[in-house]
């Protein structure tokens, strides 16, 4: 990390506006050097100064960027999550818990995390059905934040034999989209996007054709973009 910090570095470090920092420098409250009309701050001295004054300093990277806001109608993020989860074809026909167990087995995580995910999915499912109707369901964990997942992902699953998920319209479920996202806003967005696509009238017919991933993406793209 640089030895000499500029005003904007200090701004990120102390979380105060630039004008405040300039005033502190003028008032002689901040240790700094002036070179060619610009102010430079010795990193070590500034940090020890903050320590002595018990001022909180951002300990992470100096040029930390805030997470960018997710835009509601873009579906690139969802596409990446679906790519991470992948598209799988299973025999099905069992009860839903066995299917969930099979599905979590497909995750690219070790068994402890797979078990955690399974537990959470079952807890949520027992609370109320995640089936949307028309043979489609979006199972998700009860409290996603408790899971130790690296990235959010959507696992798409098509079944040869349906399972009963106690859907409101009594129809058995042929396709499931497992949504695992640890961030509140993102969870809501993905859920809303998937639900929107699956509610399209043409959707049951499309899914019956067992499309591959590209075709699935194409369908999502048409609805969302």
């Amino acid at each position: 990390m640089a030895k000499w910090l500029t005003i904007s570095d200090v701004q990120n470090l102390l979380h105060v506006p630039e004008s405040t920092i300039q005033r502190w420098v003028r008032q002689g409250n901040l240790p700094c050097t002036e070179r060619a009309g610009k102010f430079y701050f010795n990193r070590e001295i500034l940090l020890s100064w903050a320590e002595a004054k018990e001022i909180h300093v951002e300990k992470k990277d100096l040029s930390r960027k805030k997470p960018s806001r997710i835009e509601k109608h873009k579906w690139q993020e969802l596409k990446k999550a679906m790519e991470r989860g992948g598209l799988h074809q299973l025999e099905g026909g069992s009860d839903w818990k066995t299917l969930f167990r099979e599905a979590t087995g497909l995750l690219n995580y070790d068994t402890t995390i797979q078990n955690q995910v399974f537990e959470q999915l079952v807890q949520r499912e027992e609370l109320s059905s995640t089936a949307l109707g028309n043979g489609i369901a979006i199972p998700h964990p009860r409290i996603p934040m408790k899971l130790e997942l690296r990235e959010s992902l959507v696992l798409s699953l098509f079944l040869n034999q349906p399972v009963d998920l106690r859907a409101a319209d009594q129809k058995p479920v042929y396709s499931l989209f497992f949504l695992l996202s640890c961030e509140a806003r993102e969870h809501l967005q993905f859920l809303s996007q998937i639900a929107k696509v699956l509610h399209e009238p043409s959707m049951p017919e499309f899914i019956n054709k067992h499309p591959n991933q590209e075709q699935l993406f194409e369908q999502f793209h048409q609805v969302l973009a």
């Binding site: 979380h15 018990e54 109320s128 949307l132 009860r142 409290i143 809501l188």
Partner: protein, 589 residues
């Protein structure tokens, strides 16, 4: 008796709190009249405290000298080695086992009481410190009476504050007055009492700290003069001070600064060493006393306070050889460290003065041997060395300057004293964050001065400023059922409470949910548990400064607060700021 006390307590309270007749006065000037009443009451209290502290300090000084003379005239021969051991052992046994006084080193106890609470100075401390130092120093222990008498004076102040049912702020003021009286009385030096109290003990300069402290210092000094005569601690006959010598004082300041750091650190060293000797404190003290006795056998001058030696350094410096002076400094340095480190009751005031006078004298002698024109006499450097050493040890340049100037009536020496003291202070503060009294407190984060950020935060109670006007939700609540809750909510966040243990699982923010609130397809799918945010939780028993760090780490505006994993409420930055500002207005004078 008790009804008599109650009557006067009530009288006093009425006088202090009841309104002043309104008449034509403005509100502000009415408040001034109330403040003037308070100042009057505090000055009267300071007068009485000053007299009491004066009598106590004269009493202690007199009894120590009597005991010292008695033990010297006993003609015990080599058995005199045992005297310091007996004295220190007896003193510590008495304090710990009989009086159950387990606190620290005198002056630091008073500073702790000033910052944390006056209950840190209980009544038994008056007796334990008085007799403890009497036995330790009277038997030859190499330390001073000032630390203990400061403690005694402070305890007298604290006790009378409690006795008069005064509030905490006034009790702390009374502690300061007691300390000023004690210091002024023992040195026959009113200014020193005032300066020491304000600079080292109170750390705050205002009407209520300065004026009554002056009264206390004056009355204690007068009592001491009536009882003991107008004697001063050290006599000197220094003719003058040249420019060359003034420059040389900077060097002396640096030297004493370094030695004072070594001295302060050696105390910690000896304490560590002796803590391994024996579990019983009085055995440790007696062991230390024995070592001091052996040193005293070699050189009797290192025993007891050592003011008589300093006196001789000042008036008859030509009687001493450089080697003797250097040896004296080294042995005194060791003897003081051992006495205090082994748990003996005493202060660092006297040792600093005596070691400083030795260092200064040696410095003067060496300067005199160099081929430089117009160097002042050695005794003058001895005086400057005292100021430098006191400053370095106590981190109080004003105390160092005024103490030496006043106790030697040497105003003509003010320039060298100021120069030495300030250069010693520079060196000392380069190596140590605080004085011998405060360095441990600072490193533990316990030094909480009035009016500082830490003080304000320390006394703010999180529980009292929690927000409660929000709706909590269950993690399994569906979005559909959330809508009616949100419609009547006053805040835009909803803590999610775990049903099983009542802890806060997370917080749902309206901003996150708002775009999807009326998306009907989601009503049955979304539960609160899946859309809440995990926030760092503030524990009620953690320091509030840590809570503030959590705010800065998480960018959140309000955070959940829990006690024993039970959710209590939300702490918001804006509420915190309101209370902080109010607290600042109240606390700043």
């Amino acid at each position: 008796m008790s009804s008599f006390i109650k009557y006067w307590r009530n009288k006093l309270n009425t006088f202090l709190t009841h309104g002043v007749p309104a008449g034509e006065r403005q509100l502000l000037s009415r408040f001034q009249a109330v403040s003037a009443r308070e100042a009057l009451v505090m000055m009267t209290a300071a007068l009485v405290l000053g007299i009491a502290a004066g009598i106590l300090s004269v009493g202690l000084n007199w009894s120590v000298h009597a005991l010292r003379e008695f033990s010297q005239n006993l003609g015990a021969g080599w058995l005199a080695i045992l005297f310091p051991a007996i004295g220190a052992g007896l003193a510590v046994f008495m304090i710990r086992s009989m009086m159950k006084d387990f606190s620290g080193h005198g002056v630091s106890d008073v500073i702790t009481a000033m910052t944390i609470g006056s209950e840190r100075l209980p009544r038994r401390m008056i007796f334990s410190r008085f007799f403890g130092s009497l036995f330790t120093v009277g038997s030859g222990g190499s330390t001073g009476l000032e630390g203990p008498i400061v403690c005694v004076g402070g305890a007298v102040g604290a006790v009378s504050g409690r006795w008069l049912a005064m509030n905490e702020r006034r009790r702390k003021l009374l502690i300061g007055y007691g300390v000023a009286g004690a210091v002024a009385g023992i040195f026959n030096a009113p200014l020193t009492g005032l300066i020491f109290t304000l600079e080292i003990i109170v750390g705050e300069w205002s009407i209520l700290t300065i004026l009554p402290t002056i009264i206390s210092a004056v009355s204690a000094t007068e009592i001491s003069r009536i009882l003991m005569g107008n004697k001063i601690a050290f006599y000197q006959d220094i003719a003058g001070f040249s420019f060359v010598s003034l420059v040389a004082c900077v060097g002396l300041g640096i030297l004493t600064g370094l030695i004072s750091i070594a001295f302060v650190r050696s105390l910690g060293f000896w304490e560590n060493l002796f803590s391994g000797v024996n579990k019983k404190p009085w055995v440790r003290a007696a062991t230390g006393g024995l070592l001091v006795g052996l040193l005293g056998w070699q050189m009797p001058e290192v025993l007891s306070e050592g003011y008589d030696v300093t006196q001789k350094f000042l008036l008859e410096s030509s009687d001493y050889a450089l080697v003797f002076v250097l040896l004296f400094v080294v042995l005194k340095f060791l003897a003081c460290g051992i006495t205090l480190g082994s748990g003996g009751v005493g202060g660092v005031f006297a040792p600093s003065l005596v070691i400083g006078s030795g260092v200064g004298l040696a410095y003067g002698m060496i300067l005199g041997k160099l081929p430089i024109e117009g160097v002042a006499e050695e005794a003058a450097f001895s005086l400057a060395g005292m100021a430098g050493m006191v400053t370095g040890v106590m981190h109080g340049p004003l105390t160092g300057i005024f103490l030496v100037m006043e106790s030697t009536r040497g105003y003509s020496m003010i320039l060298p004293l100021m120069l030495t003291a300030s250069s010693a202070m520079v060196i000392s503060s380069f190596f140590e964050v605080g004085s011998v009294y405060t360095r441990d407190m600072i490193s533990k984060g316990n030094l909480i001065r009035r009016g500082t950020d830490r003080y304000l935060l320390h006394y703010m109670n999180i529980r009292d400023i929690l927000d409660q006007d929000f709706n909590t939700v269950d993690p399994d609540l569906l979005l559909r059922d959330f809508i009616p809750i949100f419609q009547q909510a006053r805040r835009n966040y909803f803590p999610v409470i775990d049903k099983e243990n009542g802890s806060c699982a997370g917080v749902v923010f309206l901003d996150d949910v708002r775009p999807y609130l009326f998306d009907k397809t989601l009503h049955e799918l979304v539960t609160m548990g899946s859309i809440m945010r995990m926030l760092p939780v503030i524990r009620l028993n953690e320091p509030i400064s840590q809570a503030l760090d959590q705010f800065e780490n998480s960018d959140a505006w309000s955070l959940p607060v829990e006690e024993d994993h039970r959710f209590l409420g939300m702490l918001s930055k804006s509420t915190l700021f309101n209370h902080y500002r109010r607290e600042l207005q109240i606390q700043s004078s």
